[in-house]
Each structure stands twice: as structure tokens, then as C-alpha cells.
Symmetry: C2
Subunit: 361 residues, 2 copies
């Protein structure tokens, strides 16, 4: 068996160490005589897995005691609706649109209620953050929604740009959660689909401040009411147990790496060498994003000669570098370099890119 | 490693053969160099897994071409709301209540719209089906909802009791889907959480007739609109890919067993020997359900001397027979004997029960 370097945007690479442990425990978890997949979610074995996962996540992210951690289903896309269903309470909300995902969040929220676009950089092709002057906030908004890392356009909001605006801040962190320390206390609600930096798809993480619970009308589905799910410890109904188990293994792996400060430094170095390869290619490769907000997780780039795209993809794949095709809406290439892609994988990509440019430049 | 006999109501036993294949493929699926969990859901590898799973399910259940198969999230509990959100279209719907789960479905639907109880057997302790005279149907109902197998009360609606009432029939089959052939064409919508007879929790199956698509208002979440999910082949957003893979392995295992007619006969024999052990115990064990509608998947029973419950549970566990404690709402014991629990497992339980009765009777 030969493992590839996997640059998929999600579902995405998982740490090999985590997969090996899952493999070993697949038919018999800790002597229970059955797989985690086969366990009652209300039994003491699974409850210990769930409790450990939550405790490890709280430790990793430094989640304050006045926040609940919910393990849900439906992905970020379900959250796009669930957030306004819970938090609008008859009011309006503001959305800052910095790429495809925040645009989708806004569009979905518009099905549910009265929400408005407080700023968008679409006219510039989503290659920068809006300036302070461009952002028109409603001081009476129920919340302000941002996507702190845009998976498709490769834009990340630096932590120092997260300011208190006086209304609860709601953030889609799907594609960079756990990649760096986050000041959780600045947010009212943080959510993330698991399939990038947490675990397999089908698990959705919501971290919500206590005062935002209990605002939903009684007419929304029970499973979508954050307060109901919080009261039931994410177990109103059967949660995605195996996804939670895998996420727990990833959290333990992150702790073993040294936590988010250490993984942050590794991610910074991975991104540095990849952007350097792009920027120093004398125009052979190009990333359009303002260097102030380039994502360290999703690095889109184009070739100056698009007729070389097919050769780039074929040859990189042959070299064991997989899933580099860019999203269809932007074209070109994209390397997603989540936590589980080690520096060696990014170095292998950089070496390939330099060689490819030399041979075709 | 020693595998237990697992009588959990769900998440529940999976075929050992399926788990072994999953274990073998965990780090490298068919030479792809990565786990199924790490694959892009839109790549050709995962698309082949999804397509094969759907084709195998269609073959196993004989699903007509005018039905869509959807692989969703949120469990049956989310469907309890999603069904009226999609199908009511301003009308009312009828619910037949035969146990805890159909009662929950009714209660959840009442959050969403105008639905009514067309019959309930709650006053008799949910130990029988309602008679034809007891069922008061609204001929103008948007649909009629039934739960064809009640996991907690151990009641199963026999196929011959499924009659055409002139309105679309919607059925929660979570705990007995794939346990026997089903006349799919008699139903408008069939749904099931995966964690009993299909695969790991976090995957929800919906089988819906084409004419019931497109009735949802534009104000419900996109991921909950059956028509939108059908148009997108269950991929509006990232589906629970690993759950779909595991379900696909279970479908292939079922085909290898000989399909639903063969598994039907095995299940009939498993249920026969277990109910026989209960009924011939001279009152030591008791199952309260009318023999005409006893579930072949979930067999609740009580001991005449409840002071022996703890010893029964301790000794059965020591004998490798696990998760036999009854649901807290009914007490006593429950043996869930889904497809993946072989006749040998049920025989081991019966032998233990006979021996326990002899020693304590």
C-alpha cells in the first residue's frame, strides 16, 4: 500500500496515525467486543468517547465555560439555515460576503428571514477583505455572520481583524478550525463541518454562547433547536457516533502534536513555502489574493498557460500528489493543506511545482 | 479479540464480514492511496461507491424507477419534521400511533403544521395494532403516516395490513428496513435511520415517489427540500460519505446472503425461537404484544420476578450477550435481533434464557 499526498478540499486527508488506530480498533474498541459503530449511543462506552472528545476540544480551543459544544448533523449548509432559524427572533442580521461560502450562507439565510449584505468584495473577484469603510453594519442586527476562511477563494480573516461590533459574531470556520488558536470569547457562535480539519463528513460542530440559546420559535424542528440539543447533550436523537469517535482521535492527535500553537507554526511554514513557490515562479503560477488575507489552508493558483493545466494535473497525480484541481467556479489549481497534510507533503508539492515550471517555463 | 453477541437497539450489530472489509480498506480503498473518509465526495472514486450503493439498494428492495433514493442526514427525528415541512402544503395529515416512535413523529409534526391522530393504541399500552374500526381517516389528508416497526414496544405491521387508503402512505421503517421484502409501490415515502439495519448512525435513507417532490415552500432549508436533494443526487452539500460506504458494504453482504427473501426466512426463524422461549417459559418471561403484530426485529420481554433483572443482565453480559436492557420507558429486557445478528446469536440467547429460568424458576 502506498499512501498519496492528499490535497482534497474536503472530505480531506486525516492523520495516518489516527487512521491506523481506527483500523486497529475497528472490530473491537478497548475490549468492548464490538466496533464503535455498533455501540448504543447511550451506553457508558460511547458516552466516555463523547465526553473525552468534548473535553479535548475545549482544552485545545480554550472554550470558556459559558459556551456549549454541540455535535450535530447536516453540515455547514444546514447551519446556513439553522442559524437564522434560531437567532433571528424576528429581527434582521448582517452578512459579510468574502467568497462563495459566505455568499451561500447569505442566500440560504434569505430563505429563512430578513438578512442583509453588510459588505461584499464580489466585484473584485473575492480577492481581498472589505475595508472598514465598505462595511455598513446595522447596530440592531441579531448577529453578524462571517466566514473566517473561504475554501474556494482562499481568503482567511486574520485574528486581529476580528473586532467587537456590539452584536453577536457568528463564524463559519469549517475549513480552518483547529488550524490556529482562536479567541473563542469574541464569538457568539462558531460552526464547522467536520470534513476538513476535524474528521469524516456527516458531523457538524457548533460552539455557542449560553445567552444565544433558547431564542428559537417552537415551530422549528427539535433537532435544529440549539437549546434543545444543548439540554440533551447533543443526544436528543442518535448522533453520528463514528464521526464523533474519529473527531476525538483527531483531537488527541492534535494534543500530541503540542496543541494549536504548535500546529499553527507548522501551518504557517507550510503556507509560506507554497506561496513562495507561487510568487517566485516569475509569473508561471499566480495566486490572486491580497497577501494580507491569504488562506493558510486553501491555496488556489492558476498557471499562466492554462493549456498546461491537464499536464500539471496528470503529472502531479503520477507523482502521488492528488486532488489539486481547482474548484470549477474559479478554475486552475487548489492545494488544501489542512492540519493532516504534513510539511513533507507540501514540500513534495513545491518540489514538483518548481520542476514542472522549469520544464515548461 | 472476542466479539460479543450484540442485541443493541441501535446503533447495532454490523456483519463481521463487513467490518473486516472496512478494516482492510481503511487506509487505502481499492488502491486509491487514501481512506474513503479522505476522498472528495465529487471525485470518481466516491461517486462509484454512491452509485453502487444506490443500485444495490434498488435491486434488493425492488424500488420502482419512479422513486428517488436520497442519502440524507439528521436521522428519523429530523424526518419527523422534514416530512410535514415538505408534504403538508397547507393541508392536514393523519398519523396512526402504535408506539413511542409514531407518537414522537406525531408530536414533532405538530410543531410544523396541522396534523391529527387518526388512531392510537396508547390506552392499551401499545401492545396491539388498532382495528379498522378504530382508525378514523381524513380522505383529504396530505398523507398518512405509520411506523411499520416500533423499536421500543416491539410491534411490527405485517405487510398484508398495508392497505391503499387513497392518500400517500409515509412509513418510518428505521428498525426493520431490509429485514424482509417490502411492497415499495404501496408507499409514497419510506424513511429510515441507518443505525439498525443499514450501517453507522448519521445516515438517513429516504425513498420518495416522484410526484411527492417539489411541494415544499421556498422558506424551508435547502438541505431539507427533497426536490432539491433529488436534483442534486443527495449532493447539494457533502453527504456522510463513510456512512454511505458502510451502507454499500451492508447492501453487498445482503445480496451475498441471497437478498431479502432469504434474510426474511432467517429473521423469521430467529424470531420464532426467541418468542417460543418466552412463551414456553411457563410465565417466567413475558412478551405483552398481540402475536399478530409481534416485531421480528425488537423483542421486548419482562421477567415475572423483576428482582431478577439485575442478575439476568449481569449473567447474560458475562456470557457475552450484550445490550439486553429494555428501554427505560417500558423496563425489563429487549433483544434487538437485526439482520446482522445471526441465528447462532439468537440461539445463544435462547440457551441462556432457558438455563437462567431453570436456575431461578
Amino acid at each position: 500500500m502506498s499512501r498519496i499526498w492528499n490535497f482534497s478540499a474536503g472530505p480531506a486527508a486525516l492523520p495516518e496515525e489516527v487512521l491506523r488506530q481506527a483500523q486497529e480498533e475497528l472490530l473491537d474498541w478497548h475490549g468492548a467486543g464490538c466496533s464503535v459503530m455498533e455501540m448504543s449511543h447511550r451506553g457508558k462506552e460511547f458516552m466516555s468517547i463523547l465526553d473525552q472528545a468534548e473535553a479535548d476540544l475545549r482544552e485545545l480551543m480554550g472554550i470558556p465555560a459559558n459556551y456549549k459544544v454541540l455535535f450535530l448533523q447536516g453540515g455547514a449548509t444546514q447551519q446556513f439555515a439553522q442559524i437564522p432559524m434560531n437567532l433571528l427572533a424576528g429581527r434582521s442580521a448582517d452578512y459579510i460576503v468574502t467568497g462563495s461560502w459566505s455568499k451561500k450562507a447569505l442566500k440560504e439565510a434569505q430563505r429563512i428571514g430578513d438578512v442583509r449584505c453588510a459588505a461584499t468584495t464580489e466585484s473584485s473577484g473575492f480577492n481581498r477583505l472589505p475595508t472598514a469603510e465598505e462595511i455598513k453594519l446595522d447596530p440592531f442586527a441579531a448577529y453578524l455572520h462571517v466566514c473566517t476562511n473561504e475554501t474556494i477563494h482562499g481568503i482567511e480573516i486574520p485574528a486581529q481583524r476580528i473586532a467587537d461590533t456590539g452584536v453577536p459574531l457568528v463564524a463559519d470556520m469549517s475549513s480552518h478550525i483547529l488550524s490556529r488558536p482562536v479567541p473563542v470569547e469574541k464569538f457568539g457562535l462558531i460552526y464547522a463541518g467536520a470534513q476538513k480539519n476535524i474528521g469524516p463528513s456527516g458531523l457538524t460542530l457548533v460552539i455557542i454562547r449560553d445567552d444565544l440559546l433558547g431564542m428559537a420559535p417552537l415551530t422549528i424542528p427539535s433537532v435544529m433547536d440549539y437549546a434543545v440539543m444543548a439540554e440533551n447533550g447533543s443526544m436528543l436523537n442518535t448522533p453520528p457516533t463514528y464521526g464523533i469517535y474519529m473527531a476525538g482521535l483527531v483531537f488527541q492527535w492534535l494534543k500530541k502534536q503540542g496543541g494549536l500553537a504548535v500546529i499553527d507554526a507548522v501551518n504557517a511554514e507550510k503556507a509560506r513555502i507554497l506561496y513562495e513557490a507561487i510568487d517566485q515562479s516569475a509569473g508561471f503560477y499566480h495566486n490572486p489574493v491580497d497577501p494580507d488575507c491569504r488562506s493558510r489552508m486553501n491555496v488556489p493558483f492558476t498557471l499562466a498557460q492554462p493549456e498546461l493545466d491537464a499536464a500539471f494535473l496528470d503529472e502531479s497525480k503520477a507523482a502521488g500528489l492528488v486532488s489539486l484541481k481547482g474548484h470549477k467556479s474559479v478554475g486552475g489549481m487548489r492545494a488544501s493543506i489542512y492540519n493532516a497534510v504534513p510539511l513533507a507533503g507540501v514540500q513534495a508539492l513545491v518540489d514538483f511545482m518548481n520542476d514542472f515550471a522549469k520544464r515548461n517555463g
